[in-house]
């Protein structure tokens, strides 16, 4: 059992600090955003599993030789109201911590999803009343507003792409196709679910800077993935020009330029439009297939390790 919790704790520390920092700094994710997204999800999932697993297996040591045995004898001890002999205070502390952390993570995940769903429903109602359908484009609606915006409003059954009159005024037909293809990719690839999970992780561990870093990295990766879908429909030049035009005409860019202190930290720290454009202009080649397969294999192995450690009763 000692080996289990020590290994899990080491894994949790590695995934809480050096691994995400290295991945966030690496250059290859821009060349294989889909693969990088899988790796980030594996890191987040394994990080949580090994954090809770380390506490759990340390806390369960007096209850049995391994996790499975420990979990089986725990309810009996709880009902009897007495701890097994040899229990230490630190082990009970770890056990409580594991349970609390697990509940906390699941509750934050649930509230994040419920809250987002509620806000979306309200927004969808407003969009229904204030926009008109675009007959030539399915699931696309036009709002009569001068600010040039385009966005995807994800839904459980059907997602809507919303374009503004201001956007249509500054883009030509090809550029509009690029924007619509980009937004539709968010909807069909269900990017909002991944983003919400990382949002929940960030929200549940606000004192944990890596969660914020992971969320920001994932947010840019889904934009790159959607860009790659748009590139199948339009040329890279068209996509670049539509990103650059919309970004430079962005109303909050003008608003930010007006703030005397040089705008919010968020805007300064996440130059996502520039990074998306740089990637398209420099024409970085996609990562070679063997490298992508290797990365996905690493991700699978990462998730498998704590699962095997926790369920494998061979460890003592």
């Amino acid at each position: 059992m000692t080996i289990t919790w020590v290994a899990l704790a080491a894994l949790a520390i590695a995934l809480a600090w050096p691994v995400p920092i290295l991945l966030a700094r690496a250059a290859w994710p821009a060349r294989a955003p889909g693969t990088a997204l899988v790796v980030w999800q594996a890191i987040a999932l394994t990080g949580g599993l090994s954090m809770i697993g380390a506490l759990l297996s340390y806390g369960l040591t007096p209850f049995g030789g391994n996790m499975v045995e420990g979990l089986r004898s725990l309810p009996g001890s709880l009902l009897a109201g007495s701890l097994p002999s040899g229990s230490e205070f630190s082990q009970m502390f770890a056990l409580s911590g594991a349970i609390l952390l697990g509940i906390h993570l699941l509750l934050t995940l649930a509230t994040t999803f419920v809250r987002a769903e509620r806000s979306r429903r309200r927004h969808r109602q407003l969009v229904t009343l204030l926009s008109s359908p675009m007959p030539e484009r399915p699931d696309t609606r036009l709002i009569d507003h001068e600010a040039p915006v385009a966005y995807c409003l994800p839904g459980t059954t059907r997602s809507v792409t919303v374009l503004s009159a201001g956007l249509i005024a500054i883009l030509d037909d090809e550029q509009l196709r690029a924007v619509v293809a980009h937004e539709r990719a968010h909807a069909t690839q269900r990017h909002h679910l991944v983003l919400l999970a990382f949002r929940a992780w960030r929200g549940s561990l606000p004192w944990f800077p890596i969660a914020t870093r992971a969320h920001d990295a994932v947010a840019i990766l889904v934009e790159m993935l959607a860009d790659d879908q748009a590139r199948r429909v339009v040329s890279d030049d068209t996509l670049v020009s539509s990103i650059a035009i919309v970004a430079s005409e962005s109303p909050d860019a003008t608003a930010a330029a007006l703030t005397p202190d040089g705008s919010s930290a968020l805007a300064a720290d996440s130059p996502s439009a520039s990074r998306r454009i740089a990637r398209l202009v420099d024409g970085v080649p996609p990562l070679a297939l063997p490298a992508r397969i290797f990365a996905v294999a690493c991700a699978i192995a990462l998730v498998a390790v704590p699962t095997a450690l926790l369920t494998g009763p061979a460890f003592r």
């Binding site: 204030l130 994800p154 970004a247």
Partner: protein, 124 residues
């Protein structure tokens, strides 16, 4: 009636209420829909259908019902402009909840980034 048609009907009803200076009865709205039927949504609607749509809109706080008169009078709870402002605030505002609700084509842009992008566009 499928959801898309229902949504379009709700929009037509709200357009009438927003454009009207006075409160309207369900009958007024039915007549208004039949008259301005460019979208083809209000064809031969029964007043009961209009009342159903109005009740839905009332439940969502878009419409207020005056029960002191017979028939009931309906008016828009908030102006179209105020609703548009609410919508655009959610799209453009810096509210941290924004990214949980929707995905914008281009999100927040810093002033230095805008300057760089404008230079790039000019250089083309």
């Amino acid at each position: 009636m499928d959801m898309a048609t229902l949504g379009e009907l709700e929009r037509s009803v709200m357009d009438l209420l927003w454009d009207s200076a006075e409160a309207l009865t369900a009958g007024d709205i039915r007549d208004g829909l039949a008259r301005g039927d460019a979208a083809g949504t209000g064809k031969d609607l029964a007043v009961t259908t209009v009342l159903t749509v109005l009740s839905r809109l009332e439940a969502k706080n878009f419409v207020t019902r005056d029960r002191d008169t017979r028939p009931h009078l309906f008016h828009a709870s908030t102006s179209r402009a105020a609703h548009m402002a609410e919508l655009m605030h959610e799209v453009l505002g810096a509210a941290p909840d924004r990214e949980a609700v929707l995905a914008r084509f281009v999100g927040q842009v810093s002033p230095s980034e805008v300057a760089a992008l404008r230079r790039m566009l000019d250089g083309k």
